[in-house]
């Protein structure tokens, strides 16, 4: 026999100012099953919660309705209050008479009162069908996986590992370090990027709780929070890391030279190569499609065209004989309790902007290419040279927002870092050669950050960089110069600058493969491919899939301090999860009545979380069964179940139909 208690909240005047509480109380008292009705000024206050627990005890209430603000606000609060009185916390329903009644019908007090009564009527009807629910406990694997070895991923791995949790850091490139390793200096302090990054890279590789898996990719993810099973593809380096001493003879002697990806193809590398001198692990890798011996082997299998040299120079010259042709790609399966995704970003490809002539004119380069040129370990040894003729440029024009804030190329967002890196590069250019004059064409100068505004002023005042507010209409070659035609919108005139070098501040976009990885992980992403956080303000590093966290620029454009802070935050969330002995699952999930199941498995087809399994009964029938750890409680299967065998706890068909039919009883 249901003994329902109803609390009607005044919420100060928020509700009571519109809804006639007295009338509501009188009407609710007459509802079937209601044995106790009270009104409170602030039900969520200590006093209010205490009256709830007292009322439950005094009046032996076994179900409760609170008519107050939105359940999104205080459902959890009132569940705790109910639990304190010894009642199952799921025997509670909220009638939303503030957000969805008093606040939107303030001019129609009578109708609002009427509506409040009906909303409570519905909640009473629903609660009468509520059943006690019990969260379950499941065990968890105390290991973490970090995907992506850029600065955000390194930071996350270090923080998790320092809490004593075993961590695997997976990176698809042969070395960790990410974009930050490609930078020369960092704004606004002009710290040398390698000098602050490489110690962290080394720390990560030496940390007793971190295992690096470079040249590796996540291929499949199964399981659920606390119990993920991940397939990782370890690509063959063809170099035995335990034997290699990184002496360098192999990559010096390798005869095959190809454009170096790490140097943005401004320089060359050999087919066996180390991405950059400080790479971690500091072991070379053989780029198979370019290796002459591999080509030779292919020719042997299918002799067509000229016979290539057998080569094998690296193998012959390697003192510890570390070159190992027998190494093969290998799929390993590992178990983890938490996953941090830190796949970072890549820069926008500006060839789509025909007017800038990137790809047509070699002296139109991107910011990251400039970064490689400025770097002392870069392809030009730190000297700034025009790619076309190797001359030192004297006039350099920067163009901002290339692939940012531009609807036309499908990139309407701000890339956040470009304003600052243009200022930085103009300062660095002046330091390299005092005769260089830099011009920056900008839309707005976005310098929000500690020391950022001062830094961009420094570019103007100390480095003499000229900032021109306007866009560029066209760049064309005249003689050896690049004619940059644009507009200075502050003086309302056209300007034309004869530049030696043009730097396009190419914007930030998600790394290639980020979307596919998001699909593998069953997490959502936006139209650009940036991964979605669970809440943009309050859950910035969580995803909608429990146990998977996000760090760094895979979420949105971020600078280094943001990415580092983000890595730490994601680590803290993972640590919080992994510090528990077991996990409590939400009981509001689907369940199957095997007696009603007709084995059509429509539920399996519609389930977005692969939470429906097949189970063989003793009579040989195969029926659907819900994996409660995977089920998120959406109810898709319930609505599509033809025989009505599935129900969703907390939102059962009976509860919802009771709500509907209560209205006009």
């Amino acid at each position: 026999m249901a003994r329902i208690g109803v609390f009607v909240c005044h919420c100060g005047t928020n509700i009571a100012g519109v809804v006639n509480i007295q009338k509501v109380v009188e009407a609710v008292q007459l509802l079937p099953g209601v044995v106790y009705v009270a009104d409170e000024r602030y039900t969520c206050s200590d006093v209010g919660q205490t009256s709830i627990t007292q009322a439950i005890k005094e009046h032996q209430l076994n179900r409760l309705v609170v008519a107050a603000c939105s359940p999104r606000m205080h459902e959890a609060t009132f569940r705790q209050a109910v639990a304190r009185a010894g009642l199952n916390p799921y025997l509670l329903e909220i009638a939303n008479i503030r957000e969805q009644c008093s606040w939107v019908h303030s001019k129609e007090k009578e109708e609002a009162t009427e509506k409040a009564i009906e909303l409570i009527k519905m909640a009473v009807a629903k609660v009468s069908r509520d059943e006690p629910l019990f969260p379950r406990k499941v065990g968890l694997t105390k290991r973490a996986l970090v995907i992506g070895g850029g600065i955000a991923g390194i930071q996350a791995a270090l923080d998790i590992a320092s809490a004593g949790i075993e961590t695997v850091l997976v990176e698809r490139e042969p070395t960790i370090g990410g974009r930050m390793a490609q930078l020369d200096k960092t704004f606004p302090t002009l710290d040398c990027s390698s000098c602050i990054l490489t110690p962290k890279m080394v720390e990560a590789s030496h940390h007793p709780n971190i295992r690096l898996m470079t040249y590796s990719e996540v291929k499949a993810v199964r399981g659920f929070v606390g119990n993920f099973e991940v397939d990782i593809l370890k690509r063959a380096r063809k170099v035995d890391e335990s034997k290699c001493t990184s002496c360098g003879i192999c990559w010096q002697k390798c005869p095959e030279k190809v454009p170096a990806e790490f140097d943005r193809e401004l320089g060359k590398r050999s087919a066996i190569y180390l991405s950059f001198p400080q790479a971690v692990p500091n072991k070379p890798v053989i780029d198979l499609p370019h290796c002459r011996y591999i080509k030779f082997q292919e020719w042997q299998k299918n002799p067509q065209g000229k016979k290539p040299m057998e080569c094998r120079i690296c193998e012959k010259l390697c003192p510890p004989q570390a070159v190992d042709w027998s190494q093969q790609d290998e799929m390993v399966t590992e178990k983890f309790g938490a996953i941090v995704v830190a796949t970072g970003f890549q820069t926008f490809d500006p060839t789509g902007y025909g007017e800038y002539g990137y790809g047509r004119y070699p002296d139109v380069i991107t910011g990251l290419e400039m970064e490689r040129m400025l770097s002392a370990s870069g392809p030009t040894g730190g000297e700034v040279r025009r790619p076309s003729d190797g001359e030192h440029p004297k006039t350099v024009v920067f163009i901002s927002c290339v692939g940012s804030r531009d609807e036309k190329v499908g990139r309407p967002y701000c890339s956040k870092i470009c304003c600052m890196y243009m200022a930085k590069q103009s300062i660095m250019l002046k330091e390299h050669d005092p005769e260089i004059q830099s011009y920056i064409f900008y839309i707005d100068i976005r310098a929000a950050g500690k020391g950022y505004e001062e830094f961009s002023r420094r570019a103007q005042e100390e480095a003499g960089t000229l900032y021109l507010r306007g866009r560029i209409s066209q760049i064309y070659r005249q003689g050896g110069k690049l004619m940059v035609m644009g507009e200075d919108s502050l003086i309302g005139r056209q300007v034309e600058i004869a530049a030696d070098l043009v730097v396009l501040a190419a914007g930030v976009e998600p790394a290639t493969g980020a979307k596919e990885l998001a699909q593998t992980l069953h997490i959502s992403y936006d139209q650009y491919g940036f991964m979605n956080e669970a809440h943009p303000k309050l859950k910035p590093v969580e995803t909608n899939t429990d146990g998977i966290y996000l760090a760094g620029a895979c979420v949105s454009p971020k600078d280094i301090p943001d990415a580092v802070a983000n890595g730490g935050a994601a680590a803290a969330k993972a640590m919080g999860l992994l510090s528990q002995e077991s996990l409590v699952t939400d009981p509001m999930v689907a369940s199957v009545d095997p007696m009603k199941c007709i084995s059509c498995f429509m539920c399996q087809e519609v389930c977005p979380f692969h939470a429906v399994d097949k189970q063989k009964l003793r009579d040989g029938r195969e029926v659907a069964v819900i994996n409660e750890s995977l089920c998120k409680g959406c109810g898709l299967c319930v609505a599509s179940c033809r025989p009505g065998a599935i129900n969703l706890r907390g939102f059962t068909n009976q509860q919802l139909l009771e709500e509907v039919t209560s209205l006009w009883r």
Partner: protein, 137 residues
Amino acid sequence: MAVDAEPRIVGFLCNWCSYAGADLAGTSRMAYPPNIRIIRVPCSGRVDPLFVAKCFEQGVDGVLVAGCHPGDCHYVQGNYFARRRFNLMGRFLDYLGIEKERLRLEWVSASEGKRFATAVSDFTQALKKLGPRTNPT
């Protein structure tokens, strides 16, 4: 039975987007007609056509089903199922002799309080124009 000029509406709102959007309309004090009674569901894909049928059987004038925008579903694809399901449901209503305009599907995100308020106002207006239900319930 007296003729009731004010249409009665039941709204099934998904917990993550539309219910939150309705809450936002409240927090932003965007007034809309008090004709709607909201039922919270986890996802628009949870709404069984039976619920809608039951509403009409009870004499409801209109049913609103609201979920996240296509592509934004908290459960990845629940709203796509809802869209297909209620497009079909519309045809079924025609068959039953209930104007299919009495069932509306709307996409309202958690940040679209205004959109929710407008949707309810429009729907209420449209139902008023349509007049009270004529078919037996």
